[in-house]
C-alpha cells in the first residue's frame, strides 16, 4: 500500500516538473512565433517598438486563454491512464 502512495507522490512531483517545463517551452515558442509574425510583416515596417510589444502581449493573453495551453494538462492525464490500463491488462486479463 505504501508503494502505491510512493508512486503517486513521486509521479506527481515528476509530472509537475514536466508540466512546468512544457509550459515554459510552449510559451516561449508562441512568443517567438508572434515576434516573427510581426517582424516578417511588411505592412508593419517602421512601426514603433511599443506597438510591437503591445501586439506580442495581446497574442500572449490570447494564448493564455487558448485550448492549446490547457492541453498541456494531458501531461498529468496520459501517464495516469497508461498506468491504469497497464494495471488492468497485467492483472485482470
Amino acid at each position: 500500500m505504501i508503494a502505491i502512495l510512493r508512486l503517486a507522490v513521486f509521479g506527481f512531483v515528476v509530472l509537475t516538473l514536466t508540466y512546468v517545463i512544457v509550459s515554459i517551452y510552449s510559451r516561449s515558442v508562441r512568443r517567438e512565433k508572434l515576434e516573427k509574425a510581426w517582424d516578417g510583416d511588411p505592412a508593419r515596417e517602421g512601426s514603433s517598438p511599443a506597438e510591437r510589444e503591445a501586439y506580442i502581449e495581446a497574442g500572449m493573453v490570447a494564448y493564455h486563454q487558448s485550448l492549446r495551453r490547457k492541453l498541456i494538462l494531458l501531461v498529468y492525464v496520459i501517464p495516469t491512464l497508461v498506468v491504469g490500463v497497464t494495471v488492468y491488462l497485467v492483472n485482470y486479463q
Partner: protein, 224 residues
C-alpha cells in the same frame, strides 16, 4: 585518438541504453508449460538486481525467499524457466501483483510433449544460468499454434514514444539556448566590452609612478 575515445563512449552508451531497454521491454515466447513450483531461493548481491525488491508483496526477505517458477519447453525442444514475482509499483513499470493467479493459470495450462498445448508467455528480463537470473513472466495465454505470429505492439509504442521524448527534449533545449542563454551571453559580452574599454582608459592614464598611483586611486572612485 580523441575520435576513438568519442566513438567508444558512444558505442558503450548505446549498448547500455539498448541493453536496458531489451531487459525491461516485454517479449513473447511460444512455449509449452511443463511444470510449476515454488522453490526456496537465495538471492545474492550478484543477482539481486534481477529479482523483485523485498517490499513488493511476493518477496518478503532480501536474502532467502520462496519464489514461484514456471518451467517450459520451446517447440524446438530447448527449455526456458521463468520466475513469477510481483514487480511492485515503481520499476519495471508492469504493476504486476497477481503472481498467484498467474501461477494457477500456468499450472492449468500444463501439457505433455505428446499432447502439447502451446501458450504465449509475455515476460521481461534475461536468463543467465551463471548468475541464476530468470526472466519474469508477466502474463500467459493460449496460443493459436506453435508458430503464431505476434506483433510486439507495446515495445513499438514505447520506442516511438521514447524517440518522441528525445526529439522534444532536444527541441526544448535548443529553444532554451536560443531564447535565454544566447541573449544573456550577448548581454554579458556587451558588459565585458564596457569593462575592457574602461580598463584601456585606466591603463592609458597610468603612466609613471604618480600616474599609476593616481590611476589606482581612481579605481576607488565612483564610476561615472
Amino acid at each position: 585518438m580523441w575520435r576513438y575515445i568519442k566513438w567508444t563512449f558512444r558505442i558503450v552508451l548505446f549498448l547500455i541504453v539498448a541493453g536496458f531497454l531489451h531487459y525491461t521491454l516485454p517479449h513473447h515466447d511460444i512455449v509449452r508449460v511443463t511444470n510449476t513450483y515454488n522453490r526456496l531461493t537465495t538471492v545474492g548481491s550478484e543477482n539481486s538486481w534481477a529479482y523483485a525488491a523485498p517490499d513488493t508483496g511476493t518477496a518478503e526477505s532480501t536474502v532467502t525467499r520462496d519464489i514461484r517458477f514456471i518451467e517450459t519447453a520451446f517447440p524446438g525442444g530447448s527449455v526456458m524457466v521463468y520466475r513469477n514475482e510481483d514487480t511492485g509499483w515503481v520499476w519495471p513499470p508492469y504493476f504486476k501483483y497477481d503472481s498467484s493467479n498467474l501461477q494457477a493459470e500456468a499450472g492449468n495450462l500444463k501439457s505433455t510433449a505428446e499432447a502439447p498445448k502451446w501458450v504465449v508467455v509475455t515476460h521481461y528480463g534475461w536468463r543467465f544460468p551463471f548468475l541464476s537470473i530468470y526472466p519474469n513472466a508477466v502474463s500467459i495465454r493460449e496460443a493459436t499454434g506453435p508458430d503464431e505470429r505476434i506483433i510486439p505492439y507495446v515495445p513499438i509504442v514505447v520506442l516511438v514514444f521514447l524517440a518522441f521524448l528525445v526529439f522534444m527534449v532536444r527541441r526544448m533545449w535548443l529553444q532554451f539556448w536560443e531564447r535565454t542563454v544566447e541573449p544573456a551571453a550577448a548581454e554579458v559580452g556587451e558588459a565585458w566590452d564596457g569593462v575592457e574599454a574602461r580598463a584601456d582608459a585606466a591603463r592609458a592614464g597610468a603612466k609613471g609612478v604618480f600616474g599609476r598611483l593616481g590611476a589606482w586611486l581612481g579605481t576607488w572612485r565612483k564610476k561615472r
